[in-house]
Amino acid sequence: MVGFVIISHSKKLADGVVDLTRMMAPDARIVAAGGLEDGSFGTSYEKIQTAIREVYSDDGVILLMDMGSAVMTAEMVLETMNHLNIRMADCPIAEGAVVGTVQAVSGASMEEILEELATLGATPKIS
Protein backbone atom coordinates (compact mmCIF):
# COMPACT_ATOMS: atom_id res chain seq x y z
CA MET A 1 0.00 0.00 0.00
CA VAL A 2 1.29 3.46 -0.94
CA GLY A 3 2.33 5.47 2.13
CA PHE A 4 1.95 9.19 2.85
CA VAL A 5 3.93 11.80 4.77
CA ILE A 6 2.28 15.08 5.70
CA ILE A 7 4.83 17.91 5.87
CA SER A 8 3.74 21.17 7.43
CA HIS A 9 5.35 24.06 9.30
CA SER A 10 2.80 23.39 12.02
CA LYS A 11 2.90 20.22 14.09
CA LYS A 12 -0.80 20.59 14.87
CA LEU A 13 -1.75 21.00 11.22
CA ALA A 14 0.23 17.93 10.13
CA ASP A 15 -1.18 15.84 12.98
CA GLY A 16 -4.65 17.18 12.16
CA VAL A 17 -4.43 16.26 8.50
CA VAL A 18 -3.41 12.71 9.43
CA ASP A 19 -6.33 12.66 11.87
CA LEU A 20 -8.72 13.81 9.12
CA THR A 21 -7.78 10.87 6.89
CA ARG A 22 -8.84 8.43 9.64
CA MET A 23 -12.48 9.31 8.85
CA MET A 24 -12.44 7.50 5.50
CA ALA A 25 -9.22 5.50 5.48
CA PRO A 26 -8.44 4.40 9.04
CA ASP A 27 -6.02 1.73 7.78
CA ALA A 28 -3.94 4.00 5.56
CA ARG A 29 -0.16 4.20 5.95
CA ILE A 30 0.20 7.86 6.80
CA VAL A 31 2.36 9.81 9.26
CA ALA A 32 2.88 13.47 10.10
CA ALA A 33 6.16 15.38 9.90
CA GLY A 34 5.04 18.74 11.24
CA GLY A 35 7.07 21.47 12.92
CA LEU A 36 10.58 21.23 14.32
CA GLU A 37 11.93 18.74 16.87
CA ASP A 38 11.01 21.08 19.75
CA GLY A 39 7.48 21.56 18.40
CA SER A 40 8.06 25.09 17.10
CA PHE A 41 7.13 26.19 13.57
CA GLY A 42 9.30 25.03 10.72
CA THR A 43 10.11 22.00 8.60
CA SER A 44 12.58 19.43 9.79
CA TYR A 45 14.77 17.49 7.38
CA GLU A 46 15.32 14.79 9.98
CA LYS A 47 11.63 14.44 10.87
CA ILE A 48 10.75 14.03 7.21
CA GLN A 49 13.41 11.34 6.73
CA THR A 50 12.21 9.43 9.79
CA ALA A 51 8.58 9.70 8.69
CA ILE A 52 9.36 8.35 5.22
CA ARG A 53 11.16 5.33 6.70
CA GLU A 54 8.17 4.68 8.94
CA VAL A 55 5.64 4.28 6.09
CA TYR A 56 7.96 3.11 3.32
CA SER A 57 7.30 0.02 1.26
CA ASP A 58 8.07 -0.95 -2.33
CA ASP A 59 4.70 0.52 -3.32
CA GLY A 60 6.22 3.93 -2.61
CA VAL A 61 5.61 7.01 -0.50
CA ILE A 62 3.90 10.25 -1.51
CA LEU A 63 4.83 13.50 0.25
CA LEU A 64 2.24 16.25 0.73
CA MET A 65 3.69 19.64 1.71
CA ASP A 66 2.33 23.02 2.71
CA MET A 67 4.57 25.79 1.38
CA GLY A 68 8.03 27.30 1.02
CA SER A 69 10.60 25.46 3.07
CA ALA A 70 8.26 22.45 3.38
CA VAL A 71 8.62 21.99 -0.38
CA MET A 72 12.33 22.78 -0.51
CA THR A 73 13.21 20.59 2.47
CA ALA A 74 11.16 17.73 0.99
CA GLU A 75 13.09 18.16 -2.27
CA MET A 76 16.41 17.89 -0.44
CA VAL A 77 15.28 14.75 1.38
CA LEU A 78 14.27 13.24 -1.98
CA GLU A 79 17.68 14.05 -3.41
CA THR A 80 19.45 12.17 -0.62
CA MET A 81 16.99 9.22 -0.65
CA ASN A 82 16.89 9.05 -4.46
CA HIS A 83 17.32 5.28 -4.49
CA LEU A 84 13.84 4.94 -2.95
CA ASN A 85 10.42 5.22 -4.56
CA ILE A 86 9.29 8.59 -3.17
CA ARG A 87 7.43 11.41 -4.94
CA MET A 88 6.00 14.81 -4.04
CA ALA A 89 2.37 15.58 -4.89
CA ASP A 90 1.37 19.03 -6.10
CA CYS A 91 -2.01 19.52 -4.43
CA PRO A 92 -3.87 21.06 -1.46
CA ILE A 93 -2.62 19.25 1.61
CA ALA A 94 -5.89 18.30 3.38
CA GLU A 95 -7.87 17.32 0.28
CA GLY A 96 -4.85 15.51 -1.14
CA ALA A 97 -4.41 13.47 2.02
CA VAL A 98 -8.06 12.40 2.14
CA VAL A 99 -8.32 11.52 -1.56
CA GLY A 100 -4.88 9.89 -1.65
CA THR A 101 -5.36 7.63 1.37
CA VAL A 102 -8.81 6.49 0.21
CA GLN A 103 -7.28 5.46 -3.10
CA ALA A 104 -4.27 3.85 -1.47
CA VAL A 105 -6.32 1.59 0.81
CA SER A 106 -8.37 0.49 -2.17
CA GLY A 107 -5.20 -0.62 -3.91
CA ALA A 108 -4.35 2.21 -6.31
CA SER A 109 -0.74 2.50 -7.48
CA MET A 110 1.46 5.50 -6.80
CA GLU A 111 1.14 6.68 -10.41
CA GLU A 112 -2.67 6.48 -10.30
CA ILE A 113 -2.83 8.39 -7.03
CA LEU A 114 -0.43 11.10 -8.20
CA GLU A 115 -2.47 11.58 -11.35
CA GLU A 116 -5.64 12.00 -9.30
CA LEU A 117 -3.98 14.39 -6.84
CA ALA A 118 -2.68 16.58 -9.66
CA THR A 119 -6.27 17.47 -10.59
CA LEU A 120 -7.27 18.57 -7.07
CA GLY A 121 -5.78 22.05 -7.15
CA ALA A 122 -7.90 22.96 -10.16
CA THR A 123 -11.14 21.50 -8.76
CA PRO A 124 -13.45 24.29 -7.58
CA LYS A 125 -15.12 23.90 -4.18
CA ILE A 126 -17.81 26.45 -4.81
CA SER A 127 -20.09 26.20 -7.88
Binding site: H9, L36, S40, F41, G42, T43, S44, Y45, E46, M67, G68, S69, M72, T73, E75, M76
Partner: protein
Amino acid sequence: MNTEKLIRVIHAIGEKIEAEKDYLTGLDNVIGDGDHGINMSRGFQEVEKTLNAYADKEPGDILKAVGMALVSKVGGSSGPLYGTAFLKMGMALKGKTDISIEDFLKALQVAIDAVMLRGKSVRGEKTMLDAMIPAREAMESAYQEMVGTTFHAEKDSVVGTDSTKEKDSAVGTTFHKEAALTAKVILAAGVKAAWEGVEYTKTIAATKGRASYLGERSIGHQDPGATSFTMMLEALEGAL
Protein backbone atom coordinates in the same frame (compact mmCIF):
# COMPACT_ATOMS: atom_id res chain seq x y z
CA MET B 1 42.39 30.14 1.77
CA ASN B 2 43.28 26.89 3.52
CA THR B 3 41.31 24.80 6.03
CA GLU B 4 42.52 26.71 9.09
CA LYS B 5 41.55 30.05 7.64
CA LEU B 6 38.22 28.77 6.33
CA ILE B 7 37.29 27.51 9.78
CA ARG B 8 38.14 30.95 11.16
CA VAL B 9 35.91 32.55 8.53
CA ILE B 10 33.01 30.24 9.37
CA HIS B 11 33.39 31.04 13.08
CA ALA B 12 33.30 34.73 12.15
CA ILE B 13 30.12 34.22 10.11
CA GLY B 14 28.52 32.36 13.04
CA GLU B 15 29.43 35.18 15.42
CA LYS B 16 27.99 37.77 13.06
CA ILE B 17 24.72 35.83 12.72
CA GLU B 18 24.49 35.45 16.50
CA ALA B 19 25.09 39.18 17.00
CA GLU B 20 22.49 40.14 14.39
CA LYS B 21 19.97 37.44 15.29
CA ASP B 22 17.34 39.78 16.74
CA TYR B 23 17.79 42.32 13.96
CA LEU B 24 17.24 39.66 11.27
CA THR B 25 14.21 38.26 13.07
CA GLY B 26 12.86 41.81 13.35
CA LEU B 27 13.15 42.31 9.58
CA ASP B 28 11.38 38.99 9.01
CA ASN B 29 8.63 39.92 11.47
CA VAL B 30 7.58 42.72 9.16
CA ILE B 31 7.29 40.83 5.86
CA GLY B 32 7.75 37.16 6.69
CA ASP B 33 7.15 34.67 9.44
CA GLY B 34 9.50 36.23 11.96
CA ASP B 35 12.03 33.49 12.37
CA HIS B 36 14.97 34.29 10.10
CA GLY B 37 17.42 35.31 12.84
CA ILE B 38 16.34 32.50 15.16
CA ASN B 39 16.62 29.95 12.34
CA MET B 40 20.03 31.14 11.15
CA SER B 41 21.33 31.19 14.71
CA ARG B 42 20.10 27.65 15.33
CA GLY B 43 21.75 26.57 12.07
CA PHE B 44 25.11 28.14 12.85
CA GLN B 45 25.08 26.75 16.39
CA GLU B 46 24.87 23.34 14.77
CA VAL B 47 27.66 24.35 12.38
CA GLU B 48 29.86 25.26 15.38
CA LYS B 49 29.32 21.80 16.85
CA THR B 50 30.19 20.14 13.55
CA LEU B 51 33.32 22.19 12.81
CA ASN B 52 35.47 20.60 15.54
CA ALA B 53 35.56 17.36 13.61
CA TYR B 54 36.82 19.09 10.45
CA ALA B 55 40.17 20.59 11.47
CA ASP B 56 42.07 18.22 9.18
CA LYS B 57 39.60 18.05 6.29
CA GLU B 58 39.81 19.91 3.02
CA PRO B 59 37.87 23.17 2.51
CA GLY B 60 35.31 21.59 0.16
CA ASP B 61 34.35 18.99 2.77
CA ILE B 62 34.01 21.68 5.43
CA LEU B 63 31.64 23.70 3.26
CA LYS B 64 29.57 20.58 2.58
CA ALA B 65 29.34 19.90 6.32
CA VAL B 66 28.22 23.49 6.90
CA GLY B 67 25.55 23.00 4.24
CA MET B 68 24.26 19.78 5.79
CA ALA B 69 24.15 21.33 9.27
CA LEU B 70 22.06 24.23 7.92
CA VAL B 71 19.70 21.92 6.01
CA SER B 72 19.24 19.75 9.10
CA LYS B 73 18.69 22.43 11.70
CA VAL B 74 17.42 25.71 10.25
CA GLY B 75 13.76 24.78 9.75
CA GLY B 76 12.85 27.70 7.46
CA SER B 77 13.53 28.40 3.79
CA SER B 78 17.00 29.67 4.57
CA GLY B 79 17.89 26.07 5.54
CA PRO B 80 17.46 24.46 2.14
CA LEU B 81 18.60 27.64 0.35
CA TYR B 82 21.82 28.41 2.26
CA GLY B 83 22.28 24.68 2.81
CA THR B 84 22.21 24.08 -0.94
CA ALA B 85 24.53 27.07 -1.51
CA PHE B 86 27.20 25.77 0.90
CA LEU B 87 26.83 22.17 -0.32
CA LYS B 88 27.29 23.17 -3.95
CA MET B 89 30.22 25.46 -3.15
CA GLY B 90 31.81 22.55 -1.30
CA MET B 91 31.32 20.27 -4.30
CA ALA B 92 32.70 22.89 -6.67
CA LEU B 93 35.85 23.19 -4.53
CA LYS B 94 36.42 19.46 -4.22
CA GLY B 95 40.09 18.51 -4.11
CA LYS B 96 41.39 22.04 -3.44
CA THR B 97 43.47 22.57 -0.34
CA ASP B 98 43.86 26.29 -0.87
CA ILE B 99 40.98 28.33 -2.27
CA SER B 100 41.99 31.23 -4.50
CA ILE B 101 39.77 34.21 -5.16
CA GLU B 102 39.20 32.80 -8.62
CA ASP B 103 38.03 29.47 -7.16
CA PHE B 104 35.76 31.35 -4.78
CA LEU B 105 34.12 33.34 -7.56
CA LYS B 106 33.51 30.20 -9.61
CA ALA B 107 32.08 28.35 -6.61
CA LEU B 108 29.86 31.30 -5.72
CA GLN B 109 28.41 31.21 -9.22
CA VAL B 110 27.63 27.51 -8.76
CA ALA B 111 25.96 28.37 -5.44
CA ILE B 112 23.86 31.14 -7.00
CA ASP B 113 22.68 28.84 -9.79
CA ALA B 114 21.74 26.22 -7.20
CA VAL B 115 19.80 28.73 -5.08
CA MET B 116 17.90 29.87 -8.17
CA LEU B 117 16.99 26.28 -8.97
CA ARG B 118 16.06 25.36 -5.39
CA GLY B 119 13.96 28.47 -4.83
CA LYS B 120 12.67 28.58 -8.44
CA SER B 121 13.59 32.24 -8.32
CA VAL B 122 15.43 34.87 -10.32
CA ARG B 123 16.88 38.29 -9.58
CA GLY B 124 14.36 41.03 -8.78
CA GLU B 125 11.91 38.99 -6.67
CA LYS B 126 13.06 40.44 -3.34
CA THR B 127 15.17 37.52 -2.18
CA MET B 128 18.75 36.77 -1.17
CA LEU B 129 19.55 36.58 -4.90
CA ASP B 130 19.20 40.37 -5.07
CA ALA B 131 22.31 40.63 -2.89
CA MET B 132 24.13 37.52 -4.12
CA ILE B 133 24.05 38.22 -7.84
CA PRO B 134 25.19 41.87 -7.78
CA ALA B 135 27.84 41.01 -5.17
CA ARG B 136 29.28 38.33 -7.40
CA GLU B 137 29.16 40.58 -10.46
CA ALA B 138 30.99 43.36 -8.61
CA MET B 139 33.63 40.92 -7.36
CA GLU B 140 34.10 39.49 -10.85
CA SER B 141 34.64 43.00 -12.29
CA ALA B 142 37.02 43.93 -9.49
CA TYR B 143 38.88 40.68 -10.05
CA GLN B 144 39.17 41.18 -13.81
CA GLU B 145 40.44 44.70 -13.24
CA MET B 146 43.04 43.57 -10.73
CA VAL B 147 44.23 40.57 -12.70
CA GLY B 148 45.45 42.99 -15.36
CA THR B 149 47.40 45.14 -12.92
CA THR B 150 48.71 42.24 -10.83
CA PHE B 151 50.00 40.52 -13.92
CA HIS B 152 51.99 43.59 -14.94
CA ALA B 153 53.32 44.10 -11.44
CA GLU B 154 54.49 40.49 -11.38
CA LYS B 155 56.28 40.81 -14.67
CA ASP B 156 58.02 44.01 -13.53
CA SER B 157 59.13 42.43 -10.29
CA VAL B 158 60.85 39.62 -12.13
CA VAL B 159 62.94 41.90 -14.32
CA GLY B 160 66.53 42.13 -13.15
CA THR B 161 66.61 38.85 -11.22
CA ASP B 162 69.24 36.46 -12.49
CA SER B 163 68.60 33.04 -11.05
CA THR B 164 65.49 31.23 -12.18
CA LYS B 165 65.01 29.81 -8.71
CA GLU B 166 65.09 33.24 -7.10
CA LYS B 167 62.81 34.51 -9.77
CA ASP B 168 60.21 31.88 -8.92
CA SER B 169 60.32 32.41 -5.20
CA ALA B 170 60.24 36.20 -5.62
CA VAL B 171 57.17 35.94 -7.79
CA GLY B 172 55.69 33.43 -5.36
CA THR B 173 56.03 35.72 -2.34
CA THR B 174 54.87 38.78 -4.20
CA PHE B 175 51.97 36.85 -5.55
CA HIS B 176 50.96 35.47 -2.17
CA LYS B 177 50.95 38.85 -0.48
CA GLU B 178 49.20 40.40 -3.41
CA ALA B 179 46.66 37.59 -3.54
CA ALA B 180 45.62 38.29 0.05
CA LEU B 181 45.43 42.01 -0.59
CA THR B 182 43.61 41.44 -3.87
CA ALA B 183 41.04 39.18 -2.19
CA LYS B 184 40.34 41.81 0.45
CA VAL B 185 39.78 44.56 -2.15
CA ILE B 186 37.59 42.28 -4.25
CA LEU B 187 35.50 41.21 -1.25
CA ALA B 188 35.04 44.85 -0.27
CA ALA B 189 33.58 45.54 -3.72
CA GLY B 190 31.25 42.58 -3.24
CA VAL B 191 30.06 43.72 0.19
CA LYS B 192 29.33 47.21 -1.15
CA ALA B 193 27.30 45.83 -4.06
CA ALA B 194 25.47 43.43 -1.73
CA TRP B 195 24.39 46.29 0.56
CA GLU B 196 23.19 48.18 -2.53
CA GLY B 197 21.24 45.04 -3.40
CA VAL B 198 19.67 45.05 0.06
CA GLU B 199 18.66 48.69 -0.46
CA TYR B 200 17.17 47.74 -3.83
CA THR B 201 14.97 45.09 -2.19
CA LYS B 202 13.24 47.92 -0.31
CA THR B 203 12.02 49.36 -3.59
CA ILE B 204 10.37 46.25 -5.02
CA ALA B 205 7.43 44.01 -4.13
CA ALA B 206 8.13 40.41 -3.22
CA THR B 207 7.02 37.82 -5.75
CA LYS B 208 8.72 34.82 -4.10
CA GLY B 209 8.66 33.46 -0.58
CA ARG B 210 6.43 34.31 2.34
CA ALA B 211 6.66 38.06 1.70
CA SER B 212 4.91 37.58 -1.65
CA TYR B 213 1.66 37.04 0.30
CA LEU B 214 1.93 40.72 1.20
CA GLY B 215 2.35 41.80 -2.42
CA GLU B 216 2.71 45.57 -2.79
CA ARG B 217 2.69 45.99 0.99
CA SER B 218 6.14 44.46 1.10
CA ILE B 219 7.55 47.54 -0.64
CA GLY B 220 9.57 49.75 1.70
CA HIS B 221 10.96 46.83 3.68
CA GLN B 222 14.30 45.17 3.07
CA ASP B 223 14.58 41.46 2.47
CA PRO B 224 15.90 39.49 5.46
CA GLY B 225 17.63 36.89 3.26
CA ALA B 226 19.46 39.52 1.20
CA THR B 227 20.50 41.11 4.50
CA SER B 228 21.81 37.90 6.05
CA PHE B 229 23.78 37.04 2.91
CA THR B 230 25.39 40.48 2.97
CA MET B 231 26.29 40.08 6.63
CA MET B 232 27.92 36.73 5.91
CA LEU B 233 29.94 38.22 3.06
CA GLU B 234 30.95 41.07 5.34
CA ALA B 235 32.10 38.59 8.00
CA LEU B 236 34.16 36.79 5.34
CA GLU B 237 35.77 40.06 4.26
CA GLY B 238 36.51 41.00 7.86
CA ALA B 239 38.15 37.66 8.59
CA LEU B 240 40.52 37.75 5.58
